[in-house]
C-alpha cells in the first residue's frame, strides 16, 4: 500500500506541476494576479506531495519492503538504518525522485520568497520552473518509477547497497549536488522570464544574484564533497580524474562562475546583458546535458548509472527541447535587450570580460574533451574507439587557470569604466615580490624548484596580497559584496596553491612488508606493527597498524562485503594542514607479506579548504544590504492599481 501511495503522490506532483506551469505562464501573459497566486499556491501543494512521496520511499527502505524492485536492488536487512535512507538516492530511480523534490523545493522558495518582483516576471519564472518540473516528473513516472513492484516472487533478502556507497559521502554529496544543479534551473527561469518580458535592468540582476549565489554555493560544496569522498574512498589518493561524470558537474560550475561575474557587470553598469542571459540558459542546459551523460550510460565512466537506452533517449529529448526552445527564444528576443556601455583601459568591465572569456574557453575545451569520444563513435563509428585522458585536460586547463589568476589579482584594485594606470603598476610590483617568495620557498625547503608550481604559487600569493590590501584601503567603506568577492578570490588562491603543490610534490611508494618491517617515505619511517581480522554487521576484513613518527598510528583496512562479493580498500589518512599521509592496505601476499602503498601528499587539504571558503564567500556576498532591502514584499508592484 505504501509504495502505491508514494507513486500516487508523485503523480499528484505532476498534476500540480502542470498547474504551476499553466497558471504561471498565462497569469504572466494576461497580467492576472489571481492566476499567478494560484501558481504560487500550487507550488506548496507540489512540494508537499513530492515530500510525501519521498518520505514513503524512505519508509519502504526502512521497512525492508523487498516487494519494491528498487528497494530489493539497493538495500538489505543488514544495512544500518542511515545507509538505508541514503540508499534511497543510491541509484537512478530514487536519486531522480530526490531531483524532482529538490526542484519542487526551489520552486516553492521562488514562489514565496520572491513576491517582491513584478507580477509578470514572477509568473514567467514560476511557469518555466513548472515546465521543468513537468518534464522531470513525467520522466520519473513513465520510465524511472522507483515504486515499481516486484511481484509475485518477492525476494527474502535485498541485493544490498553498493559497498562503495556505504559512506557518509553518499549521505550528503548527492543532495548537495542536486540542490546546486536545480538551483541553476531557477536562474534559467529568470533568464527565460527576462526574455519573455523583454526587460532586463539592474533590478533584474539584483533579484537573480542571490539565487545564483546559493546555487553556486551548493554546487561548489557538492563537487568538493565528491572530490574528497573519491580521495579517501577509492584508495589511491586521487582527488580529480577528469572523468566524464566529474566533467558533467564541473562544466555547469564553470558556466555558473562566469554567470556570477557577468551579473555583477549587468547589475552595476548594465553591461553584458545579452551575454548574462545566455549564461543563465547555458548553465542549466549544461546541467541537463550532464544528467543525460551520467544517466544514459553513453559515456565510459567509473561513476555512470546502470545503462538503459530508453531513459537515455528521453533525457536527450528533454535536453534538446530545453536547449533548443530556450536558444530559439534567445535568438528572437535577445536584440530587444540593448546595451550601451563605455569603458576603456584596464577597467573592471574588461577584467570581467577576460574572466568570462577564459572560463568559457575552459568550459569549451572540457566539453570538447568529454564529447569527442562520443562524437567519434557516432560520426566515424567502426572499431576504433577512443578516449581522452587526463594529460589533455591538464594541458588545456592549467594554463587557462594561470591566465585567469593573473586577471583575478588585479580585480580588487580595478575600477568601473577606467582604472588609473598607477594602481595597476602598484599591483604589478607585488607580483615581483610574490614570485621571489614562490621561488625561494621550495629552494629553501630543498625539494627542488618546479617552475609550473612556482608560477602558480606566485600568482596565488599575489592574489591574496592585492585583495588584502584592497580590503585594508577600503576598511571604512567595506560592503559585504566586496568582502564576499575578496574572500572568494582568496579561496580560489588557496585552492590553486593546494593543487600546484600536491600535484608536483606528492611522494608515493609501494611495498610488500612482513610484520615488524618498515619503509621510508619522504623522510618518515612507517612500520607495519600488526594485522588483525575485523568483522562488522555486513563485512569482514583485515586491519593493519602502521606506526610512524612520534608514536602516531594509522589503521588502513581491506574489507570484503560477502553479500555482493565485493572488496574495498579503506585507506587510512592522517590529515594535516601541511601534509596528508595516506596509506592503502592491499592485504595478504605470498610469504607472510602484506601489500601496502604509502603516500605523502603536501598541501592536499588546501584544495578543498579553498573551494569551501570560496563557496561560503557567495553566502557573504548574498547578505549584502542591497539584496536584503529588496526582499520586503512590495505590494505596489505586485498588485498595481
Amino acid at each position: 500500500m505504501i509504495p502505491e501511495l508514494g507513486h500516487f503522490s508523485a503523480f499528484l506532483g505532476l498534476m500540480s506541476a502542470i498547474g504551476i506551469a499553466l497558471f504561471g505562464f498565462f497569469g504572466a501573459a494576461q497580467n492576472r494576479a489571481s492566476w499567478v497566486d494560484m501558481s504560487i499556491r500550487l507550488t506548496k501543494v507540489q512540494v508537499a506531495v513530492l515530500g510525501l512521496s519521498f518520505l514513503l520511499l524512505i519508509l519502504a527502505f526502512l521497512d525492508d519492503d523487498f516487494s519494491v524492485l528498487y528497494v530489493a536492488n539497493n538495500s538489505n536487512t543488514a544495512l544500518p538504518w542511515y545507509y538505508k535512507v541514503a540508499g534511497v538516492w543510491g541509484a537512478h530511480e530514487g536519486s531522480f525522485l530526490l531531483w524532482t523534490l529538490v526542484t519542487a523545493v526551489w520552486t516553492v522558495l521562488v514562489a514565496t520568497r520572491a513576491r517582491h518582483i513584478p507580477l509578470k516576471l514572477h509568473g514567467y519564472v514560476l511557469g518555466t520552473l513548472g515546465v521543468l518540473s513537468v518534464m522531470f516528473l513525467a520522466f520519473l513516472l513513465f520510465s524511472s518509477n522507483p515504486f515499481e513492484r516486484l511481484v509475485p516472487n518477492v525476494p527474502i533478502q535485498g541485493a544490498d547497497l553498493n559497498p562503495v556507497l556505504q559512506d557518509i559521502g553518499q549521505i550528503i554529496h548527492p543532495p548537495m549536488l542536486y540542490i546546486g544543479y536545480v538551483g541553476f534551473g531557477v536562474t534559467f527561469a529568470f533568464g527565460i522570464a527576462a526574455l519573455a518580458t523583454g526587460k532586463i535592468d539592474s533590478a533584474w540582476a539584483r533579484w537573480v544574484r542571490p539565487w545564483v549565489n546559493v546555487a553556486w554555493l551548493f554546487l561548489t560544496i557538492g563537487i568538493v564533497l565528491g572530490s574528497w569522498w573519491a580521495y579517501y574512498e577509492l584508495g589511491w589518493g586521487g582527488w580529480w580524474f577528469w572523468d566524464p561524470v566529474e566533467n558533467a558537474s564541473f562544466m555547469p560550475w564553470l558556466a555558473g562562475t562566469a554567470l556570477i561575474h557577468s551579473l555583477s557587470a549587468t547589475e552595476k553598469r548594465g553591461a553584458f546583458k545579452n551575454w548574462t542571459i545566455l549564461l543563465t540558459l547555458l548553465t542549466f542546459t549544461l546541467v541537463l546535458m550532464g544528467a543525460f551523460l551520467v544517466r544514459s550510460g553513453v559515456l565510459s565512466s567509473v561513476h555512470a548509472f546502470a545503462v538503459d537506452p530508453q531513459r537515455g533517449l528521453i533525457l536527450l529529448t528533454i535536453f534538446v527541447l530545453v536547449a533548443g526552445s530556450s536558444l530559439v527564444l534567445y535568438a528572437f528576443r535577445a536584440h530587444t535587450l540593448n546595451t550601451q556601455v563605455q569603458y576603456w583601459g584596464v577597467s573592471r568591465e574588461l577584467l570581467l570580460l577576460i574572466n568570462n572569456a577564459l572560463l568559457v574557453v575552459a568550459l569549451f575545451t572540457i566539453l570538447l574533451g568529454t564529447l569527442y569520444p562520443l562524437g567519434h563513435e557516432w560520426f566515424v563509428g567502426g572499431d576504433d574507439r577512443l578516449s581522452v585522458g587526463e594529460p589533455y585536460f591538464n594541458a588545456m586547463f592549467v594554463p587557462i587557470m594561470l591566465l585567469l589568476s593573473f586577471a583575478l589579482a588585479i580585480a580588487p584594485i580595478s575600477r568601473w569604466k577606467h582604472t588609473p594606470m598607477k594602481l595597476v603598476v602598484n599591483a604589478l610590483i607585488f607580483l615581483g615580490g610574490s614570485a621571489v617568495v614562490a621561488l625561494l620557498l621550495p629552494w629553501i625547503l630543498a625539494d627542488g624548484v618546479h617552475l609550473g608550481a612556482s608560477c602558480a604559487v606566485a600568482l596565488a600569493i599575489w592574489i591574496i596580497i592585492t585583495h588584502a590590501i584592497a580590503c585594508y584601503r577600503q576598511r571604512n567603506a567595506l560592503t559585504l559584496g566586496f568582502i564576499g568577492m575578496s574572500v572568494a578570490h582568496v579561496g580560489f588562491a588557496i585552492a590553486v596553491i593546494g593543487v600546484a603543490v600536491t600535484s608536483v610534490y606528492t611522494e608515493s611508494k609501494d611495498a610488500r612488508l612482513k610484520i615488524g618491517q618498515s619503509i621510508e617515505v619522504s623522510g618518515t619511517q612507517y612500520e607495519l606493527v600488526n594485522v588483525q581480522m575485523t568483522e562488522s554487521q555486513n563485512f569482514i576484513g583485515e586491519r593493519a597498524q602502521f606506526d610512524f613518527g612520534d608514536q602516531r598510528s594509522l589503521f588502513p583496512e581491506r574489507r570484503l562485503y560477502p553479500i555482493r562479493d565485493h572488496i574495498t580498500y579503506e585507506a587510512a589518512i592522517a590529515p594535516g594542514i601541511f601534509k596528508d599521509r595516506y596509506i592503502t592496505f592491499a592485504g595478504p601476499m605470498e610469504n607472510d607479506t602484506w601489500g601496502v602503498e604509502i603516500q605523502d601528499k603536501p598541501f592536499q587539504r588546501w584544495i578543498w579548504f579553498g573551494a569551501v571558503v570560496a563557496g561560503l564567500a557567495a553566502l557573504i556576498a548574498m547578505l549584502d544590504k542591497r539584496y536584503r532591502r529588496l526582499s520586503h514584499r512590495d505590494l505596489e508592484t505586485k498588485y498595481p492599481e
Partner: protein, 143 residues
C-alpha cells in the same frame, strides 16, 4: 568609422583571433592526447602502435594472475575468451574490483616484446560492470 564602431570591431577581431587560437591549440592537444582503444585480437595481430599510450581491454584470464616474489608487481593475461590473449605487466595495487574472468580496461603502452606495460588498471565501482568498449564483444561471445 565612429569610435564605438571601431571599439566593437576591435573586440570582435580580438574574440575571433582568441577563439581561433583556442580551437587550434585544442585540436593539437586532442590529436596528441587521444588514447585509442584496442581489443585483444588487435593487440595480438600487431595492429597496435608500439610505445604509445593506448587503452586495451578484455577479460582477465582465469589462473593467469601471477605476483612477483617481492614488491607489488603483477603479471596477468587479458583475453577475448575466443582465441586472442596478451600479457599485462603492472606495478602497484590492483583495483579492488579486479577479478579473474571479469572485464577490465588497462591504460599504458605495448612494448616491443608484445607485453602491455600498464600504468593504470580500471575496474568499475559496480561488480556487474562491463566496460562499454567490451559490450560488442560480449554479445559476440555469449549469444
Amino acid at each position: 568609422m565612429k569610435p564605438h564602431r571601431r571599439r566593437r570591431l576591435s573586440i570582435v577581431l580580438f574574440l575571433f583571433i582568441g577563439g581561433l587560437t583556442t580551437v587550434l591549440i585544442t585540436i593539437f592537444a586532442l590529436a596528441n592526447y587521444i588514447n585509442h582503444f584496442y581489443l585483444p585480437d588487435q593487440v595480438v595481430s600487431g595492429d597496435v602502435p608500439i610505445e604509445r599510450t593506448i587503452r586495451a581491454g578484455g577479460f582477465v584470464k582465469t589462473g593467469s594472475v601471477v605476483r612477483d616474489s617481492t614488491g607489488l608487481g603483477v603479471t596477468f593475461d587479458i583475453t577475448d575468451r575466443v582465441s586472442s590473449t596478451f600479457s599485462v605487466r603492472f606495478e602497484g595495487i590492483l583495483p579492488s574490483l579486479f577479478r579473474e574472468d571479469k572485464g577490465t580496461v588497462v591504460v599504458g603502452r605495448l612494448n616491443a616484446d608484445g607485453v602491455f606495460d600498464a600504468t593504470r588498471v580500471l575496474a568499475k565501482h559496480d561488480e556487474n560492470y562491463e566496460p562499454p568498449e567490451l559490450k560488442g564483444m560480449v554479445e559476440q561471445v555469449d549469444p
